[in-house]
């Protein structure tokens, strides 16, 4: 039995918690414990749904083989997992959606960065061949390759830091959530050509995430602009 995937999941959870802790120190209005529970619940629901969809697409009946659900290594459908996690997070934050999601998003992006960086525990960082100085090879091989998962982790970590800053400086409701979704899609879309795969993956899903995230951020800016205009006091007579 291999437990390397658990180590990768643990590094993702550490990234998430570190992000929430740091954010909570800067913004005392955030309830870190609630956001942590929302994030973990959404992740578990997303993982289960992604696994079920991967099983069905692979021809395995989840009702006939319920035990196969725990074999996460055999495949999780990324698009289904992401959609289920987003719906769950949206439902759990329904009382104060954008305030909580904006607080959660930078830490969630850092958690995804941690998950990608967890490739170091799984010996699963490498992608397509490359002769760049930082490329490395599998044990016993002379073919050096892009450490593609570390590229994704780096991109997401930088993005998470930028979102942290944005959340504190310009808290328009929904802006950080939208940009975070777009960033997550962008990180996958940009690194996908460097990942080895058996067939062309659901690249358009990543494009859709960028479009939806950008639309959400634009709508948030528009709403913020409108409310500023509305709250401007009328000129004195």
């Amino acid at each position: 039995m291999e437990f390397t995937l658990l180590w990768a999941a643990l590094s993702g959870a550490i990234g998430l918690y570190a992000g929430l802790w740091w954010m909570g120190r800067r913004d005392t209005s955030l309830c870190v414990r609630d956001l942590w529970e929302i994030a973990i619940t959404a992740a578990v629901v997303g993982l289960a749904m992604g696994r079920v969809v991967a099983m069905v697409r692979g021809g395995v009946n989840p009702l006939a083989h319920p035990g196969d659900l725990i074999l996460v290594r055999a495949g999780v459908d990324t698009a289904a997992a992401s959609i289920a996690a987003l719906i769950t997070a949206g439902w759990l934050t329904r009382s104060d959606r954008f305030e909580q999601l904006d607080g959660l998003t930078p830490a969630a992006v850092l958690g995804i960065a941690g998950w990608h960086a967890g490739c170091l525990f799984r010996d699963a960082c490498l992608g397509t061949p490359s002769s760049l100085p930082w490329a490395w090879s599998q044990p016993g091989s002379s073919i050096t390759r892009h450490p593609v998962e570390l590229y994704a982790a780096l991109l997401l970590a930088i993005g998470a830091w930028a979102l942290f800053r944005l959340r504190l400086r310009y808290p328009a409701p929904g802006l950080v959530s939208g940009l975070g979704l777009a960033l997550a899609g962008l990180a996958r879309l940009a690194t996908e050509p460097l990942r080895p795969s058996l067939s062309t993956g659901p690249v358009w899903w990543y494009g859709a995430a960028i479009a939806v995230g950008a639309a959400l951020a634009a709508s948030s800016l528009y709403r913020a602009g409108s409310s500023d205009t509305e709250s401007t006091p009328p000129p004195l007579q």
Binding site: R57, G58, A64, D68, R73, A124, S141, P196, S197
Partner: protein
């Protein structure tokens, strides 16, 4: 809520009991020997992916769709071989039929002697060979898409 949980449990139980074992038109698997497998690997002009599996192995069921997808994508350039160990013919044929995995060659190793000769135990196990039979890499346990694709790329680059 309780009613939903009970219904789900009953549905899972019924579905689990009714999962049949149809062998379809899958032919019986030919029995092989350590010498025959070694000769096959040595004589192969293509790189080889050798997957050791068994119908009773739950993780093997989970990686079966990936192997089918890999064979569909790389079957022209890479030789895929299945080695069914410590199994019975009917269960093995039903497994291949269920996952539509009979697109490539599978051998029967009821005693596990062939796997023993390859020097590794346990299922599932996936071995990647360069043309001529040099072992490039082996993967214990369930293989994921990334590892499968990466190792196939490695052995394809060893083709002279």
């Amino acid at each position: 809520m309780r009613r939903i949980i009970v219904t789900l449990i009953v549905a899972l139980g019924v579905a689990g009991c009714s999962s049949g074992g149809e062998v379809g038109d899958v032919a019986p698997l030919p029995e092989t020997s350590p010498e025959a497998i070694q000769q096959l690997l040595t004589a192969s002009e293509q790189p080889v992916v050798l997957n050791v599996w068994a119908s009773w192995c739950v993780p093997c069921r989970s990686e079966a769709p990936l192997l089918r997808a890999a064979h569909e994508s790389f079957g022209d350039e890479v030789q895929f071989i299945g080695l069914d160990v410590r199994d019975d013919q009917d269960s093995a044929r039903a497994f291949l039929n269920e996952f539509d995995l009979d697109g490539f060659e599978h051998f029967f190793d009821p005693s596990g002697a062939v796997q023993g000769s390859l020097g590794r135990g346990g299922v599932p196990l996936t071995m990647f060979y360069a043309p001529g039979g040099d072992l490039v890499d082996l993967h214990f346990g369930v293989i994921d898409e990334r590892a499968l694709a990466l190792n196939i790329d490695e052995i394809l680059r060893r083709v002279p």
